[in-house]
């Protein structure tokens, strides 16, 4: 019954939702709180491996996904308390390096993770390949809906308001009674938990993961580009950015595979240089 076209659109839709989750999540820390985080890849890879290892030890898939979210959230909390004292470049670098460290640790922990050999994830028992594709589409949709709900609730709450204050002037927010450490850590947890789940769903979806794949630094870069495209700190900006980005990526990926990363780079450069409106709306602290 399902044609090849259906399978293509399902794959695209699932990827779109995953990108949406990445972008919305980054928006918590990068857009709302104004901290230039490059930690998305760390959360994604951690979630992917947590979910995969949990399934390897026989946990049901959905339980494994939830566990991956919990692991990512705990990791984000611990990391946040340590790193969010840093500002500007130092925070950016430290968050960038975290994914590298995790990747090497996963590489070395061969017994648990299969190391550089990668890890196979059991394929769910379903009637057809098409059913599987549909299942993962809805799973990713579920994660995206949860993330969107979290954005919605946060933006209309004390937490969201406090994060806006921090983004504008952190020390003034502190003087006004905002517990800045707690608020930033909360934003960091929110930026990690859904990415962790998305990583686990991704692992189950593709059946096989290896460290360079899921800890790819591009998972840290892409959400930033998407949010830049769509508008930071806003409700729909990250989703619009994700859709735009995926369209561009798909166009280039399908037609010019060998220059894929180069065109992505060019897109970033052009975006930064020639979209002053989008960038003016994007006020991150300089230090």
């Amino acid at each position: 019954m399902p044609t090849g076209v259906d399978a293509y659109w399902l794959r695209l839709g699932t990827t779109m939702l995953m990108y949406g989750v990445l972008a919305m999540s980054w928006n918590f820390i990068g857009g709302m709180a104004g901290y230039p985080s490059f930690a998305s890849a760390a959360f994604f890879g951690l979630g992917a491996y947590a979910g995969a290892v949990a399934q390897k030890y026989g946990l049901p898939m959905v339980v494994a996904w939830s566990l991956a979210g919990a692991v990512a959230a705990l990791f984000a909390a611990a990391l946040g308390f340590a790193l969010l004292r840093l500002r500007g470049h130092y925070f950016a670098i430290a968050s960038l390096v975290v994914a590298e460290v995790l990747r090497e640790i996963v590489n070395s922990a061969t017994n648990l993770t299969g190391g550089g050999m990668g890890l196979n994830i059991p394929v769910p028992q379903m009637a057809s390949i098409a059913d599987q594709a549909r299942f993962f589409y809805y799973a990713m949709l579920g994660v995206a809906v949860l993330a969107f709900g979290a954005v919605l609730v946060t933006q209309r709450s004390r937490l969201g308001f406090g994060l806006r204050c921090i983004q504008q002037n952190e020390s003034a927010a502190d003087m006004l009674g905002v517990n800045t450490t707690l608020y930033k850590v909360n934003a960091f947890i929110l930026s990690g938990v859904f990415v962790g789940v998305a990583g686990a769903v991704y692992a189950s979806w593709v059946h096989y993961i290896e460290p360079p794949d899921v800890f790819d630094v591009l998972y840290s870069i892409k959400p930033i580009v998407m949010v830049l495209l769509g508008g930071a700190g806003t409700l729909f900006g990250p989703l619009i950015g994700a859709a735009l980005f995926l369209s561009l990526e798909e166009l280039v990926w399908r037609n010019y595979l060998s220059v894929h990363t180069g065109v992505l780079g060019l897109l970033i450069v052009l975006l930064v240089l020639f979209l002053p409106k989008g960038i003016l709306a994007f006020r991150l602290r300089r230090t």
Partner: protein, 246 residues
């Protein structure tokens, strides 16, 4: 009268520099105290010590009977210690109303929602900024920003309000306006500690004046006795007072 703020033997060093050394100061509820002293005397450092920006190197700070020497700024804000800044610090891209709402929410203890906004609007009316409530804070004039700082301070529902040079850079009608506001705040029962260079303001407003010089408290008393105190005149006041009375 009961003691609200008690500093005992408080010191703060920056490297080898003693910004404040072994300072004792007691502030009663309802007092309006003027804190004066030449530039670099340690006035702003003292305020930073009280609000937890810099922890004291030695000594203790007690507020409403509680030891708060090691508190964080946000804890000070929630305990009822509000401050305004010499250099005003609004959230530039938020509206004037949002700026004051933030104060009411996070320090004033109000829940997120319309009540906090209503309270913020009241404070804006009090300082005369209700007309510009919807404007971005970055668009305000300096005098308006100073009043915004006052509104924020009030929205924090303070027991103690620390005013750091709220009149600097204002012209005389603006100063009169600010003076009237500060009096009205004091009449509500808020204890006020004000750093001020203009003697006209201090003598008009304060029930007591304390003088800081080289990080030490050299005199404390009612305005008349301070004006006559030879140590004060020698350290600082003579020239200033002469300037101010022209």
């Amino acid at each position: 009268m009961t003691t609200l703020l008690q500093l005992s033997g408080v010191s703060r060093h920056f490297g080898g520099l003693k910004a404040v050394s072994s300072l004792d100061l007691s502030v009663d509820r309802g007092e309006v105290i003027g804190l004066i002293g030449p530039n670099g005397a340690g006035k702003t450092t003292l305020i930073n010590l009280i609000t937890g920006v810099h922890p004291a190197t030695a000594g203790t700070v007690r507020f409403a009977g509680e030891d708060v020497t090691r508190q964080q700024p946000w804890q000070a804000a929630r305990r009822g210690i509000a401050r305004t800044f010499q250099i005003v610090q609004p959230f530039p891209e938020m509206t004037v109303l949002e700026n004051v709402t933030a104060a009411a929410l996070f320090a004033g203890g109000l829940a997120y929602g319309e009540r906090a906004e209503a309270a913020a609007l009241e404070h804006l009316q009090f300082v005369g900024l209700a007309d510009v409530a919807g404007k971005r804070a970055s668009t305000l004039t300096l005098a308006m920003r100073k009043r915004l700082e006052l509104a924020k301070g009030l929205a924090m529902n303070p027991k103690l309000l620390l005013l750091d040079e709220v009149n600097a850079g204002l012209h005389s009608t603006e100063i009169d306006h600010a003076l009237a506001l500060i009096r009205a705040i004091a009449a509500r029962g808020v204890t006020i500690l004000i750093i001020e260079h203009l003697m006209k303001v201090v003598l008009n407003l304060c029930s007591r004046i304390v003088v800081l010089h080289h990080g030490e408290l050299i005199a404390s008393g009612d305005p008349q006795s301070i004006v006559r105190d030879p140590r004060v005149v020698q350290a600082y006041l003579g020239r200033r007072y002469a300037d101010a009375s022209h």
